[in-house]
Symmetry: C2
Subunit: 193 residues, 2 copies
Amino acid sequence: MAGSRKDVRDRLLRAALDLFSERGYDRTTAADIADRADVTERTYFRHFSDKREALFDGEGALQHALAGAVAEVPAGLSPSETLLRAFLAMIPALEHEGDLKKRRQAVIAAAPELRERELSKEAHLISGVAEALETRGVRAPVAVLAAVSGIAVLSRARLEWLAGASDDYATLLRTGFADLRAALASEPASPGR
Amino acid sequence: MAGSRKDVRDRLLRAALDLFSERGYDRTTAADIADRADVTERTYFRHFSDKREALFDGEGALQHALAGAVAEVPAGLSPSETLLRAFLAMIPALEHEGDLKKRRQAVIAAAPELRERELSKEAHLISGVAEALETRGVRAPVAVLAAVSGIAVLSRARLEWLAGASDDYATLLRTGFADLRAALASEPASPGR
């Protein structure tokens, strides 16, 4: 079956999702995925280093896009305000192919090995964002902590959106940063909160 | 070679550290570790599920101790102040067997698979701390974000301490929380910071 490089990667991602959902991650091999996508195993390994990587395609592009979004925020804002604006600018990308993302999330939630890999993806996003903040002149330790907590807000918004808790990404992100400020406030929140 | 359960686990940890440092993680098997520790491979697997888990012994105990420390902080403090106090109370445990911890850190830094496992350990600490904060009446989303950013401060202090940047854990922790507040401030930091 012919196809552009991007087509083949898309087919492999869908095949991996189908098989991991049907049989479970442990009972699927890279050869099975290649077979379902109608390519050779060798083609699979030309695209991905192992069976789990089909699910993590686009990781580099996302990291790059996030760093770019941080760079484009107007100067003169605090680190957390900068991150909020960068994340808001990413909403179209975050919403893109939502159904695929929801299926992917379900597969990852079911396999501990994939959850570990997802954490490592998050760690890469954090270092990319921290670097982008440093480039804007934020001190390194502050940049790292802003990135860790900002990515935590983004991840939570993403999970809530994927779970269908809300389809309003902007509000999920704003609420997340407000909760983060409440967590860091030096005064305790009023009772009942 | 005889020994209490704790002795055997300590020997296995040291043997794993020795072999991972000497040969590298990839070129060491669980059988090698058992051999170096003078126990059978079967004994190794009675203690740990695979070769990497010897390095992550004590994870459950640490999670438990941290949650306990959070629970013991006097009431009426903000989430981040609660975490700072809990972490300060953990300093003796954090400093315990510092040389072993430094060696362990060097081994983990050298192997991507171990770094992923370390992230998953951190994720467990985060959920334990978030739960402990919730038990104190902090709203769930605020508790999670406080835990993520608090554990990031703790991790940074730990790495700085292990790297020998300072032997004053309390100052490292206080500076970390101050940096976190700077990251989350709604006003940008003054120039030069």
